[in-house]
Assembly symmetry: C2
Homo-oligomer: 252 residues x 2
């Protein structure tokens, strides 16, 4: 028996477990997707892998699923954070969706000097990450952090985490090494598989000169060059994650 | 004198040339962006590079620009075609926008067995490509081809053009070589810089078994693996163009 529908639930999953459905979930499964008692759904909660569950009770305002067997173990993405400056609503949603598809473990909206957005709807971004995980067959949902000021984030930076810094001022500079990254500073040495990383995508207005100078001086920062054309922030996010995943992540 | 606004015009560009503006262009420059006589604009037409032009006449329903000097030569992207099966409107627009940003030379919408869209608005897709080129600082606008059946396209395939074929059925297979591409067939040999290429992104429903079998058997086809998660078509397009540009294209 296979399930065509994948659903995220915030509930423990294990053989014999019963999972209650809220009104929205019941509406989606029974009214929109027309499932009935006995039909199957794939469930994941971001922690316990993917499980096959059977509809036990199908109601208008709720229902119950009976968890049968694990179909896939939890597959955590590599230890990659995506840091980005929030932009227009649709493109911010898009970046979160792409971060989940591309396998970021954590999404951190950052406030830079030239960022316009003063606040984000964290619950809405989280909902986009969940929907993307449902679609892309992932068993993990990236964490969405609170909006954080870039300067404070750098003040408290975890020492062993490398930073891939995408700067549109670099557009057109040829890639200077086989990593596809521009500058690999001597102090932190060459990156190795398994290193924790973060990718930082700048805001539409670019970084300020003081920000750029600080970023360039960080011993854990690597400057990435993403070709001769200036990429929009959402394009740059997917491109940077592609380079990283194919070089250090779980695409290898 | 530098220009903050970049505008595509379908008109020859050269020193001393006068460029007439249509109603939409005049509205954008003079009503929306509030330019006046004497202000500067950067122009490109996809053929003659980028030129600095000065507003000579600013009217409500039209106007005239006087072309001064070339600011950048034409920079053609590599000989890369992006083939994709049209999907929902917003995501199709998005793929075209991303193809222009990422540096595809030609965009070819293809009809596969599992493609839903029976027609496309070529003029609308072209407008998206132009807008993306205006934004990303490109001097070239990719050509948008008519919707073409995949089987006919393969019947008439230009012999020396390689095809990078992204198949979601490959999700999870590790990359088998340093190119980040899965299968490099012996017959066509290893790719070299400068080879003409096409990238083929499948439809949401995937390729049919006969399509997949045909694609896999082509001597010029390379199967690409884009990580363990299933990517949406728009994500796959950006990821595949990133891998290609960083390995063979103008990101090197």
């Amino acid at each position: 028996m296979t399930a065509k529908i994948r659903l995220y639930v915030d509930h423990p999953l294990g053989a014999g477990q019963s999972v209650p459905l809220n009104r929205d979930q019941a509406h989606y499964l029974f009214a929109v997707m027309r499932l009935a008692a006995g039909d199957c759904v794939a469930l994941f909660n971001g922690r316990d892998g993917e499980w096959l569950a059977e509809v036990a009770v199908a109601g208008k305002r709720g229902g119950e699923l009976a968890v049968r067997a694990q179909t896939r173990p939890l597959q955590r993405p590599p230890d990659l954070w995506l840091l980005f400056a929030p932009i227009k609503k649709a493109r911010t949603d898009f970046i979160v969706e792409k971060a989940a598809e591309m396998g970021a473990a954590r999404i951190v909206p950052v406030l830079t000097e030239f960022t316009n957005a003063e606040r984000i709807r964290r619950d809405r971004l989280r909902a986009h990450a969940i929907e993307a995980a449902e679609q892309c067959g992932g068993t993990y949902v990236p964490e969405v952090a609170d909006l954080t000021r870039l300067d404070r984030l750098l003040d408290d930076w975890p020492g062993n985490r490398r930073l891939m810094f995408c700067d549109e001022a670099e557009a057109g500079r040829p890639m200077s090494d086989a990593d596809g990254f521009g500058v690999v500073p001597g102090e932190a040495g060459r990156p190795a598989p398994g290193d924790p990383w973060a990718i930082l995508i700048g805001p539409e207005g670019g970084f300020s000169e003081p920000e750029r100078a600080r970023l360039r001086g960080l011993p854990f920062a690597h400057v990435a060059t993403l070709g001769p054309r200036i990429l929009r922030a959402d394009t740059a996010a997917v491109a940077a994650m592609t380079l990283w995943q194919s070089r250090f992540g779980d695409w290898r």
